[in-house]
């Protein structure tokens, strides 16, 4: 007899062996058992249907994932907790086909490394293959960010590995050969450009020096001739010629000095000799040098210097050169009857501002960057008419920057130009110090 029926009979006998069977109890139990079986049957049948439906949904999800992985631009692989290949996409096969040949599902990661090692470029440089393989394994087991492998076939691969939840590894292989080549070309071009620039600066420095030596003779002897130390020149025209020789020589010397300074700055060899400067004094001195040319050009020169101006901690020669350049430009490019203003004032946030404005030709906004490049004088015609090699503005800008300052140009063609140089507050002393 079935054990269930035996139990039902025992219960119907009131738990006593051989007792009288209570038929109602027995029927209730038997009826209940049928009900329980039917329920179990129904539940299992329904679950079967639900599972079939879910199976379909799972399949759809799986094929979507598989499709996504196979379409990836990166080589994708999953390794299980025993480090065996569970899955790899088409791109992974392509990347590896150039190196190790395809790898089959179930292959052990150590096997991939063993096949990969002979094709690793750095091993050709005398690196121990076993050491490389050991390092590769250790990186694989304890992933810490991406790394690159260069292969002997000229391919570069970037590898990303991460641990999976089940204790395996998910691995991305990115072919970065094109990027590496572009980077390489870029680096070479940069190195070549830097080297050429270095040579240029060196050449200019040498040349300036070579030019200055004969110029000393030109300047010295023309001065001797002008002062007629060794007796009169005779014809007055000789005297004028000697002065022309001296003026032209001086101009040439200025240009050579600018070139030399520019090349020193570009080569990073320009050293500042900072000291406390009285800006008002310096402006006065500079105006005396430029005053004659301004008067000759029929220009009015105005000074707007804030009273009680604090001293400036800067390289005297540089600041003087900035002022001379800016004033020189203003005088050069302002037609007769115009006005040149030189101003100095203290700005709480920007420090000490020196500015030179004129009522001259002006510069169009789009030409300002060009004007700040060495040798970038705007119009060749201008340069021919006004002389100069266009080093004044860029040199002034560099000199200002060497003082942690800035040079700014505001200009309107036909109306005039304002060039301001700002020296930072750190370089500005206390006004009282001057007063005392």
């Amino acid at each position: 007899m079935h054990r269930l029926l035996l139990r039902q009979l025992k219960k119907a006998r009131g738990g006593k062996e051989g007792g009288a069977i209570d038929l109602d109890t027995l029927l209730t139990l038997v009826d209940g058992a049928y009900g329980e079986f039917e329920r179990q049957h129904r539940v299992l049948g329904h679950t079967h249907n639900v599972m079939r439906e879910e199976h379909g949904q799972l399949n759809a999800r799986l094929s979507r994932l598989r499709d996504g992985i196979s379409q990836m631009g990166a080589g994708f692989s999953i390794w299980d907790s025993d480090d065996r290949l569970v899955l790899r996409n088409q791109r992974m096969r392509e990347i590896l086909s150039h190196i190790t040949g395809d790898i089959q599902q179930g292959v052990c990661f150590t096997d991939l490394v063993r096949r990969e090692t002979p094709f690793v470029l750095t091993i050709g440089d005398g690196k121990d293959p076993d050491e490389w393989a050991a390092a590769r394994m250790s990186r694989h087991r304890n992933p810490a960010g991406p790394f690159e492998i260069a292969f002997t076939n000229g391919r570069f691969v970037q590898v990303w590995e991460e641990k999976t939840g089940e204790g395996g590894i998910v691995s991305l292989y990115l072919d970065i050969t094109d990027r590496k080549r572009a980077e390489d070309e870029l680096r070479q071009a940069k190195e070549a450009a830097e080297s050429a620039n270095q040579s240029k600066s060196q050449f200019l420095a040498n040349m300036s020096h070579e030019l200055r030596t004969p110029l000393n003779a030109v300047l010295g002897f023309s001065e001797v001739m002008m002062s007629e130390i060794m007796g009169p020149l005779g014809d007055r025209r000789y005297h004028e010629y000697a002065k022309d020789i001296h003026d032209a020589g001086s101009h040439l010397l200025d240009i050579i000095d600018d070139i030399l300074d520019m090349s020193k700055i570009e080569a990073g060899h320009f050293d500042l000799d900072a000291q406390w400067i009285d800006v008002a004094d310096l402006i006065g001195e500079t105006l005396r040098l430029i005053g004659a040319r301004a008067r000759e050009g029929g220009l009015t020169v105005v000074r707007e210097i804030e009273p009680n101006l604090p001293p400036l901690y800067a390289d005297l020669r540089s600041v003087k050169q900035i002022l001379l350049n800016l004033l020189g430009n203003a005088v050069k490019f302002t037609p007769s009857g115009g006005k040149v203003t030189v101003a100095a004032r203290l700005l709480p946030s920007r420090g000490l501002a020196l500015s030179v404005s004129d009522t001259g030709l002006g510069i169009a906004a789009q030409d300002i960057p060009q004007a700040l490049k060495p040798f970038g004088q705007i119009e060749r015609a201008l340069s021919r008419r006004h002389g100069g090699v266009g080093l004044g503005l860029p040199l002034s800008k560099h000199l200002a920057e060497l003082h942690d300052g800035t040079l700014e140009i505001a200009s309107e063609p036909g109306k005039g130009t304002n060039v301001s140089v700002y020296f930072p507050p750190a370089r500005v002393g206390r006004a009282a110090a001057v007063a005392s």
């Binding site: 269930l4 738990g15 329980e36 129904r42 679950t47 639900v50």
Partner: protein, 376 residues
């Protein structure tokens, strides 16, 4: 070790089931159907049978004796040890005191560590978070002491459960008995036998023992789909489909959680145990044959040749599901452990046993959990 087992039935009163002769037990463990102990008379009768014994017991969702599963009975097992020592710890929970971890700590502190071989625990079944309780005891005793036992039951009502130590059982009580000495030998096994069906899903929204979403969809809707016609009988019918959960990537740390309530408005489900967010979850289904085989498997894990007594703590969910076939799982255990090993036990609101392949104990749901005892 000597044993004597008695059964009380409403119609017949107390009756001896088996006895090793006149014994002087140190411990009596009884399992009582809800309501049978309310007037205190049954406890007093037990006390008079075994005046020198410490008596522990609880209410149940069904009582187990030998190969029978009863409703409305009391099964008492008196155990006389030759040399093994016993230490009891008891505490209460409820009212102001709601912290299950702290209750576990109090129980653990009541059991000296020296010579302790294992702990058997009976706890209130409706006011206690079993996971926290076990963590509290292990916090004191460490992971290498095996803790087994279960949460008291209240038939299929889930309202009020009772536990007693040398007193008539009351709600909110917990008692732990510590077994001491080199002669004592304990074994355990805990197996469910449920079939995981359908895909694994991630617990995307949960709070404590309340589950809202699996894979960003309401868990309640998923359960209704699986239950089909049975969905009309929720939450009772959710017993058909407990939930298996495990931390991502750690299927070996799986736990089974039983549904104890639903909230239609919030589409939420309440479980008898924590459902941590981020865990992997899979719906399970009870196939009678597989559940019965699971009980046999638990017995094989707990078995050792000298085992004299096996305390079966099986889940109320299994009994509610299997109905008259429930006794088959007790028979399956009996078939494995043999005639020489006496059986007792009860249907519980939560089984306590170590995790598979881990020293840490935890609350289980829907398992057959067996503690075997012998004295060498």
């Amino acid at each position: 070790m000597q044993l004597e087992q008695r059964i009380w039935l409403p119609r017949d009163g107390w009756r001896i089931l088996n006895s090793d002769g006149p014994i002087a037990p140190a411990l009596v463990i009884f399992f009582a159907a809800p309501g049978t102990t309310d007037d205190g008379a049954r406890f007093n009768e037990l006390k008079s049978f075994y005046p020198a014994a410490s008596i522990i017991g609880c209410t149940t969702g069904g009582e187990i004796s030998e190969t029978d599963v009863h409703d409305g009975s009391i099964i008492a097992t008196a155990i006389a040890f030759e040399r093994a020592g016993l230490v009891f710890a008891e505490t209460s929970i409820g009212g102001e005191e709601r912290n299950s971890f702290d209750a576990g700590v109090r129980l653990g502190r009541g059991l000296p560590r020296q010579g302790l071989r294992g702990v058997f625990l009976l706890s209130d079944g409706t006011q206690v978070n079993g996971t926290e309780l076990v963590a509290g005891i292990q916090h004191v005793l460490g992971p290498d002491i095996t803790i087994t036992g279960g949460l008291a039951g209240d038939g299929s009502s889930f309202v009020s459960t009772r536990v007693g130590f040398n007193a008539n059982p009351e709600p909110g009580k917990l008692v732990a008995v510590g077994f001491y000495g080199p002669e004592i030998r304990l074994g355990y096994g805990s197996v469910g036998g449920w079939d995981a069906v359908g895909p694994e899903r991630i617990v995307t929204r949960s709070a404590g023992n309340t589950l809202f979403d699996l894979d960003d969809l309401p868990a309640l809707d998923l359960y209704k789909k699986y239950l089909g016609l049975e969905a009309a009988n929720l939450p009772a019918s959710a017993l058909l489909c407990p939930l298996r959960i495990h931390p991502a990537g750690k299927p070996e740390a799986s736990l089974v959680r039983t549904v104890i309530g639903i909230d239609e408005e919030r589409k939420a489900m309440t479980f008898a145990g924590t459902i941590p967010q981020g865990h992997v979850a899979q719906i399970m289904l009870g196939h009678f044959d597989h559940l019965i085989a699971g009980a046999g498997q638990a017995a094989r894990k707990a078995a050792f040749p000298e085992a004299q007594l096996a305390i079966l703590v099986s889940c109320i969910g299994r009994k509610l599901l299997m109905g008259q076939q429930t006794a088959d799982e007790v028979e399956a255990v009996h078939d494995v452990l043999g005639q020489a090993c006496r059986l007792t036990g009860f249907y519980s609101y939560g089984e306590i046993a170590p995790m598979e392949n881990s020293p840490f104990c935890d609350l289980h749901n829907q398992t057959m959990t067996i503690t075997t005892i012998a004295e060498a």
